[in-house]
């Protein structure tokens, strides 16, 4: 299924709010937990208690420091999982058809029983969203929790990705970008949702909301309206107090 669908009925994806992500890694671990137990092979760990532990994760939280022209440096926590690109290069390079983009909802998936573990799709992904599981020998990636979002064994309200459900800060949002009125479309419009590496031409579905301007509280001087002294001395202050109390 290496060809990409011309269009998809829905365009499901995530909005990730860089203004509120506190970098807690909750999404990382709930993703690991859900996907270890569910879709396909478990996400394995090598040398789990050893000197060089390493494992498969479908979602990882980076952090970056940004130094503005003036003012203090900022730190931004940056979760990253598959962006379910419209022009997914990871799909078209796949020699076996294991990688595909679903025509119903645009979710990019790996059919693990077809995957030969050649790694090429991971090479093609600019975002590092695919990891070859060392135990199973197949490519793993974010499934957008395809086994949750339609799952009739889950209560309706739980039919959302594990990472979205768990995010304590509410920095992750899930929905259909084909619906201009969906929560994700609105958020992305209002807050300037952006693409990562647009120059790669992948047309990512997931959008990132940029952090709001920081350290914008204007520094003010002695006679700021809210701090105009009522009196300079304790005595003067108590005089003011007397007068003010009269009025209360």
């Amino acid at each position: 299924m290496t060809s990409l669908p011309n269009s998809t009925q829905k365009k499901l994806g995530l909005v990730i709010d860089l203004d509120t992500c506190v970098g807690c890694h909750a999404c990382v671990i709930s993703c690991k937990g859900w996907n270890t137990e569910n879709y396909g092979a478990p996400l394995s760990d090598q040398d789990a208690y050893g000197s060089d532990p390493s494992g498969t994760f479908l979602n990882r939280v980076h952090s970056f420091e940004v130094q503005p022209q003036t003012g203090a440096a900022q730190l931004i926590h940056f979760p990253k999982s598959c962006l379910h690109c419209d022009d997914a290069p990871c799909v078209t390079v796949c020699p076996t058809g294991a990688s595909y983009k679903r025509s119903e909802d645009g979710i990019v998936l790996v059919n693990e029983s077809d995957c030969i573990g050649c790694g090429l799709c991971a090479w093609a992904c600019p975002y590092g969203a695919r990891e070859l599981d060392q135990a199973a020998g197949v490519m793993k990636k974010c499934t957008l929790c395809v086994d949750r979002i339609y799952n009739e064994n889950l209560p309706e309200e739980d039919r959302e990705p594990a990472c979205v459900r768990t995010c304590p800060a509410g920095a992750r949002h899930f929905g259909d970008f084909n619906d201009p009125n969906s929560h994700v479309s609105t958020l992305s419009r209002d807050r300037g949702g952006m693409d990562l590496m647009p120059e790669q031409g992948t047309a990512p579905v997931n959008k990132y909301l940029p952090p709001r301007p920081k350290d914008a509280l204007p520094e003010i001087d002695v006679l700021a309206p809210f701090l105009t002294p009522v009196a300079e001395t304790p005595k003067g202050f108590l005089g003011w107090l007397d007068k003010t109390l009269e009025k209360l």
């Binding site: 807690c24 768990t166 800060a169």
Partner: protein
């Protein structure tokens, strides 16, 4: 080609069991999904009041905690020397017999020779009950080294603290200011709250030398110099008072600002509050101009009027505050350099506080009646809220700093009002409503009352008749009079020194005292293994309960292996640290959702048995038989006061809340309800709780108090003045002379800022801090296969300036030294950091051989602890005394006062992996080696 057909509705689990997370003290509700009786997946419980469905990384990784190879498997008896890690697995019968044989004679003869300290215990009302029954005065949990400054300052000032016992009004606040918090106990609620208010566009200001986590998402970051928050806060207080931007109405009605203070320096009672014969504080009534009780119906307390009795002048507290804080010493220009915050920025923040508090004030259409009987048609919202934790409290000036912050928020009139800071039941509860500490030891009998409490003057100190400390940790003594949580960090060193006396058995529960929870780790290890001239251990016996193969296990003689949190009963009770919300009282349980596959027992259940074997009155029936079969039995059947037990929900026939008879089905009802119980506070009672008649009545009904307890916020803290007064030589209870000056200068009744003791710090000028990683809980995270991949080692982060000055680059190594010791560690650069501060993640470094990790695990090679640089005592001052590295008021361990020097060091070159120093010999692991690889799937 066809798309593959996939199963969109796979089977999720056979069963969901709802219980409470234990991966930190936040106590979120969890849904544990089971397949074939095994834990398959853990998610948050959407109905739960604490987390409303969300879950943090630790919570989701619980599955890896429950299957961790480091879990202890059976009781252990030490067979090698202490510290070797050589043990023999024994039966529970033998373990209980050993414990009983050790403890029974102690109880019979000298109960104080048992020191029972319980770490980050979530069952303190139970463990303290056990200790009280045993009769030893030596009981406390971990609060003394954790954040007792925060707790006491809050309770003495406003009858409740940030620490777990309150929360911002997330629904209404528009400006949220956070001091010194990396993560805190309210982990998920704070994240949810920040997310919520940011979505609304409210402003978050983070005051922290380090800009990570919450401070990274803060709209404004104040990279303050550590230890100077008090000064910064009081400077804002200066600006606000000077500009008259304080809530006079609120101050007059709800605080002791109008209460009269004896202002005659020559008077014996100088500085004490004027009270009537029943001890009620007195104010001047504005309508009559006469003296009146603060709570007299109809009284309009006057903030300005003074009162003369004889020739003794009495001035309202607010006068004293104006005098003190209008001083130019608190002007932004005067403090800017010390705080590392430009004066205009201090003003800007003060102005923003004033603007939001007063310009964005709003009314909630909610009538209520105050304690004076006055009816109010609305509730006035002042949408400014604050939160703070160890960043301000873990300094030796932390108590006063925390008080300063409370005074700031009270001046703005934003405590217990819409948009401000709100208490969670059982708070508000003034210091006077808490017990006082007890220490009267009677052989073969219980202690005369609860160990811990609040002192209100020198007469309440816990001293023996000769004036020496009654407790092994010297809590409630002149050295740290208001040490409401005890001083767990001093127990081992005092016991080792036999000062104030020697003990026989040290009994500890879930505290990794030979590693990350002690200052001076190496020294503590030496004390635990030190022998006397006869070759006997100086601390003769150590019993310890842990669930895992921690560093501490190796230093005990008898190990009582606990279950993991999914395998036992627990009770998150209104009697100690419940899960209440500002709008509701709530408590919760844990219950065995899976059965242990090892020979382990819940520690509390073990105490039920041990208590019975020792014949402790609270643990036996009249016929001497064991009263509580196990902890579950205790939770249901224990009666603290008539009608009140550990759990408030489903009492009596199941329909009663708060008070009611024992309900044998109570645990089942909790389980049916998702593991918790919530009782909402009526709307008219939801704000102004300390003064709200409806709330007070509701609290009495719930069993939180026995009668309404309205009170005033204590801007002026009289108990402090009483200690100060004693130090001035007044009154019958006198401190030792060497402490007089310190008590006089630090125990000021209005918040002050003082520089912490800098003895020995010459040449050490860089602040060194630790922060909790959100994804790790102290030392336990490292045994978790998923979490340890996130934080497997910890670099020391240096600000750009210090990197340049020391010609350091990422990945280089540096020698970091303090007056006490030195470590060699890898460094990384961080720009968003105070210029004179370095830091690392807390408790990532591990001892080789512990936690079932490989000896070359990065935690044990490159990982390190800052604790090696911190001593529990300050360097000698030359006065022959060793002063504790603690807050002089509460005894709070001053972790963050650490100052260091840094120099580039060659990367360690010995063969094998790069090794930070100091490095310790490997412990012999009491558990088998861990598996190499994991692919954990329980279904199919």
């Amino acid at each position: 080609m066809q798309q593959p057909v996939i199963d969109l509705s796979p089977h999720v689990s056979d069963e969901v069991r709802k219980t409470t997370c234990y991966m930190c003290a936040c106590r979120c509700g969890i849904n544990v999904h089971l397949k074939d009786g095994k834990v398959a997946y853990i998610e948050g419980n959407r109905d739960h009041p604490v987390n409303k469905g969300v879950l943090c990384a630790k919570g989701s990784a619980g599955i890896m905690q429950v299957n961790a190879p480091s879990r202890l498997r059976a009781p252990l008896k030490r067979v090698g020397p202490r510290g070797s890690g050589e043990f023999e697995e024994i039966s529970w019968d033998e373990a209980l017999k050993i414990a009983t044989d050790w403890l029974a004679p102690i109880r019979k003869n000298n109960p104080e020779k048992l020191a029972f300290f319980t770490g980050r215990d979530q069952s303190q009302s139970f463990t303290s009950f056990w200790a009280q029954n045993f009769g030893t005065p030596n009981y406390a949990a971990h609060g003394g080294f954790c954040s007792v400054n925060m707790a006491t300052a809050g309770i003495y000032t406003m009858g409740g603290a940030f620490w777990e016992f309150g929360q911002p009004d997330w629904d209404h606040t528009k400006l949220f200011m956070l001091f010194g918090v990396a993560e805190d106990h309210d982990s998920n609620p704070i994240k949810m709250g920040i997310g919520k208010i940011k979505a609304r566009g409210a402003r978050v200001i983070g005051v922290n030398p380090i800009r990570t986590g919450y401070n990274a998402v803060a709209d404004d970051w104040v990279g303050i110099t550590p230890g100077t928050d008090g000064l910064f806060i009081l400077s804002m207080v200066h600006c606000l008072i000077k500009a008259g931007k304080v809530d006079l109405e609120y101050l007059a009605q709800f605080t002791n600002a109008p209460v009269l203070v004896n202002s005659d320096p020559d008077s014996d009672d100088f500085g004490l509050l004027l009270r009537d014969e029943n001890g009620k504080e007195l104010v001047i009534d504005r309508t009559t101009g006469q003296l009146a009780r603060f709570d007299q119906p109809g009284v309009r307390p006057d903030l300005a009027a003074t009162h003369r009795i004889g020739d003794i002048e009495h001035r309202p507290v607010f006068h004293l505050m104006a005098d003190q804080y209008l001083s130019d010493d608190y002007a932004p220009e005067a403090v800017a350099d010390r705080c590392g915050i430009p004066a205009p920025r201090i003003r800007a923040i003060a102005a923003e506080l004033a603007r939001v508090a007063f310009e964005e004030a709003f009314e909630l259409d909610q009538p209520w009646t105050d304690f004076r009987g006055e009816k109010h048609q609305t509730m006035t919202g002042r949408p400014v809220s604050f939160h703070a934790m160890r960043g301000i409290s873990a300094h030796a000036n932390g108590f006063q700093t925390c008080r300063a912050l409370h005074v700031l928020q009270i001046l703005l009139g934003t405590v217990e009002v819409p948009g401000g800071f709100r208490f969670k039941p059982p708070y508000p509860k003034p210091a006077t409503a808490h017990p006082k500490p007890h220490c009267k030891v009677t052989p073969d009998a219980p202690l005369d009352g609860p160990h811990l409490g609040f002192v209100h003057g020198p007469e309440d100190l816990v001293l023996r008749p000769d004036g020496s400390p009654a407790r092994i940790d010297k809590a409630f003594t002149w050295e740290n009079p208001m040490s409401a949580h005890g001083l767990m960090h001093m127990v081992i060193s005092n016991a080792h020194a036999g000062d104030p006396y020697k003990i026989d058995t040290l009994f500890m529960y879930m505290a990794n005292m030979s590693w990350n929870s002690s200052m001076n780790t190496r020294g503590v290890i030496d004390m635990l293994t030190d022998t006397d001239e006869n070759g006997d251990y100086v601390i003769p016996r150590i019993i310890y309960s842990d669930a895992y193969s921690s560093e501490m296990v190796a230093y005990a003689d008898l190990i009582l292996p606990d279950t993991t949190y999914l395998e036992r009963h627990d009770c998150i009770s209104l009697l100690d640290r419940p899960i209440c919300e500002a709008d509701a009282a709530a408590d919760a349980i844990r219950w065995p959702v899976i059965e242990p596959d090892r020979d382990v027992r819940g520690f509390q259940s073990v105490l039920c048995t041990l208590g019975a074997q020792l014949g402790l009155p609270g643990f036996i029936n009249e016929d001497g038989s064991q009263k509580y079969k196990d902890y579950g039995d205790y939770i249901v059947n224990h009666i603290r006061k008539p009608g009140i037990g550990p759990l408030a929900g489903f009492r009596g026939d199941g329909s009663q809340s708060g008070r009611g008879e024992v309900n044998p089905d109570q645990l089942d009802r909790y389980i049916e309800n998702g593991g918790f119980f919530v009782e909402h506070i009526p709307a008219e009672a939801s704000y102004y709780k300390p003064w709200n008649a409806a709330y007070q009545d509701w609290a009495v009904n719930m069993g939180l108090f026995d009668s309404p307890q309205p009170y005033l916020f204590q801007l002026y803290c009289e108990p402090l003045r009483k200690f100060q007064r004693a130090a001035e030589g007044k009154g019958p209870h006198q401190p030792p002379d060497h402490l007089r000056d310190r008590i006089k200068s630090t125990m000021a009744p209005l918040p002050i800022w003082y520089e912490t003791d800098q003895t020995g710090n010459d040449g050490f000028s860089i602040h060194a801090l630790t922060q909790r990683p959100m994804a790790m809980y102290h030392s336990w995270g490292s045994q978790n296969a998923w979490l340890r991949q996130l934080h497997g080692h910890n670099p020391l982060y240096l600000p750009t300036k210090l990197m340049r000055e020391n010609a350091l680059q990422d990945g280089d190594w540096a020698r970091v030294s303090s007056p006490h010791g030195s470590i060699t560690v890898p460094v990384l650069e961080m720009a968003a950091l105070n210029d004179n501060t370095v830091w690392t993640w807390n408790a990532i470094g591990k001892r080789k051989g512990a936690w079932a990790l490989d000896e070359n695990a990065p935690e044990a090679t490159r990982g390190f602890l800052l604790n090696h640089l911190i001593h529990e005592l300050l360097p000698p001052k030359g006065d022959g005394l060793r002063w504790a590295n603690s807050d002089p008021i509460t005894g709070q361990a001053a972790w963050f006062d650490l100052k260091v020097a840094i120099e580039k060091a060659p990367a360690p070159t010995q063969p094998g992996p790069l090794q930070s120093s100091p490095s310790f010999a490997a412990l012999k692991s009491p558990v088998p080696a861990a598996p190499k690889d994991l692919a954990w799937k329980v279904g199919k």
